[in-house]
Symmetry: C2
Subunit: 151 residues, 2 copies
């Protein structure tokens, strides 16, 4: 976790009367250092490598908090679990998801974003956020590569 995130978080916590606890710090540190698109359970497992006594409930509560203060975004890639990704200090981006091996690639494209705004305006909407996910086969899986689960 870099300074910037730390500051944003301290500020937010102060402003909302939130305490900085051992568990919270551990969860947040782990979340930002692992990176990627973590499900709560995955994150919980990582956290428990450091402190076996942290409960899932706390991880859920902490991630909800991170979401509310804008440091993490909750995502739903259709596998039935909510995944979180770091948000602070990052550009908005979208996702390419391989339906075979589960690889997730991030991308950003300004022209598409501009067009989205155009479409929204046409319908009288003011867009505050969006998500775009492209599902298909990654380079490797098109060539008959093995899926993660069969590796």
């Amino acid at each position: 976790m870099n300074r910037n995130m730390d500051e944003v978080l301290q500020h937010y916590m102060a402003q909302h009367g939130l305490k900085s606890t051992r568990q919270r710090s551990l969860i947040i540190d782990t979340f930002f250092s692992v990176g990627g698109h973590l499900s709560v359970e995955e994150l919980w497992n990582k956290v428990r490598e450091q402190d076996i006594k942290v409960s899932v409930a706390t991880v859920y509560r902490t991630m909800k908090l991170l979401g509310e203060c804008g440091l993490a975004h909750a995502r739903n890639f259709g596998d039935g679990q909510t995944r979180y990704e770091a948000a602070a200090g990052r550009h908005h981006h979208d996702h390419l998801i391989c339906t075979h091996c589960g690889t997730i690639v991030e991308f950003e494209d300004d022209r598409i974003e501009q067009m989205q705004d155009g479409v929204a305006r046409k319908h009288g909407f003011t867009v505050t956020s969006h998500k775009m996910e492209l599902y298909g086969l990654c380079r490797n899986c098109q060539r008959g590569g093995k899926a993660k689960s069969e590796a």
Copy 2:
């Protein structure tokens, strides 16, 4: 349900050894005649207006079937439930969702789709499907209109 959907369904059912039952027909008819983006529970309620004895399990099973044969698409708009929308004979489209009143507007934009393909190609992906959702305020809610739930 129009002829076309009926045919697609009959064909699919025949091909997969599926039976046409009273419950299935009722559920499918209801689904296509109500339209929109129905959650399983909403659909179940509509169905029960006709036949109070149909179980949720059957609605879940039937909608999964419709999804598999391509007549319906499952969507996740972040409210924790899976919603289905009619798919057969319709152009692909995306969604504008009002975060205040819950209104969902459909739109399609070929240029955006083309750009998506371009981006995917750049990353070595072959896209088979995608979803794009724009969240924000609709015209009415920007003017301080009332949300559905407070109406």
